[in-house]
Symmetry: C2
Subunit: 217 residues, 2 copies
């Protein structure tokens, strides 16, 4: 995510500083345009013009247009695997992921899907963004599969951790979509939290008989 220059003990440096500045500028201008006039309706030329930079500079920082809208991708992808790795002793994978989701839902955490009506709408009526979001869910599941394989001492790629990751990822994805739906329906976060917490109980509960004893810490 962050640049390597930061880790090598050097002070930010003017060049690196300016880079991140223009990167931030482009990203901010882009999200502003996206939210105000929609993702598909906004061209890269629009963004470049509004940010007073060349088109190539935009596509240089953000190779794909979707990257301009969906930020914190790495955090999202790593979230499930991170929850698993950081789970407290005595908790199974299911319990850890279940607890983390409920916690995120009660806090209306954006990573769980609480992105606000404008953002949810932007994604909803853009096939490109929806597809990219599916990609992220898949990558997140793959990362979880590897983490589960490591945690259970199973070779990566084995069918059992992969299936378990697919099941756990499926529940998370379903609940994520529910939050998006409710957001688009105009519900406020408090109500969404209440509804989704109850639904999470049903969804994770359904998986409990199968995975209660899987990947214990």
């Amino acid at each position: 995510m962050t640049t390597d220059a930061n880790s090598s003990a050097s002070p930010p440096g003017l060049r690196e500083s300016k880079k991140q500045q223009t990167r931030r500028l482009i990203s901010d201008v882009a999200t502003g345009l996206f939210l105000s006039q929609g993702f598909e309706q906004t061209t890269i030329a629009d963004i470049a013009a509004a940010a007073r930079v060349a088109k190539k500079t935009v596509t240089n920082y953000f190779p794909r247009k979707e990257d301009l809208a969906l930020d914190h991708q790495d955090a999202f992808i790593a979230s499930l695997a991170g929850t698993l790795v950081g789970r407290r002793p005595g908790t199974s994978a299911l319990a850890a992921l279940r607890g983390a989701f409920v916690e995120a839902a009660e806090a209306a955490n954006p990573v769980a899907g609480f992105s606000g009506p404008a953002f949810a709408g932007m994604i909803a009526d853009s096939p490109t963004l929806s597809a990219r979001l599916r990609d992220l869910h898949d990558l997140r599941e793959a990362a979880l599969a590897d983490a589960l394989a490591d945690a259970t001492g199973t070779p990566r790629g084995d069918i059992t951790p992969r299936t378990a990751a697919a099941l756990l990822g499926a529940v998370h994805r379903t609940l994520f979509q529910r939050i998006q739906e409710l957001t688009l329906a105009g519900e406020d976060n408090a109500r969404i939290s209440a509804v989704v917490t109850a639904e999470a109980d049903a969804a994770f509960g359904l998986l409990e008989p199968s995975l209660a004893d899987y990947a214990p810490a």
Copy 2:
């Protein structure tokens, strides 16, 4: 999928006949080019030139390029829901879908993922096609969710059938990807069938404690 003209008792008709003829011609030429030189490397202009038609005619029959490569989309989308609806009395949703997959795996059915090395390779190194395939998996899961809601007398969109569909779809998708992997690895269909049948046992077996009694017929 098919045209209405066919259902209104009229003989095929020269116009309809020629339409399907050119459609078939374009599709065949396209898949030939895709398999020989890759999906991304083949342009619509190439296809039009090889089929001796105008570019616009190609995009007229197939609005998106992916549609030229992935055929039988509707059959794929409807397969899980169809299996559920057509299940024999006394079988649960899980048992029906499990049985159908094993059957398809033993028969090396393309719908289960047995598409041959060339086709699998074409999909593997084309982000566009991979994305579209994920779409199809999602649509298939959505269709299954509706079918499960109907079968259990639950309102469509309810969390329980949606979650169940997500779980069952996840297993199917995981096994589908396994078949693709093994195909790309150069294994022959007989060996893939054997491996995947065993893995299906583990994967569906993992889900058994949760869904054994769900949606009985």
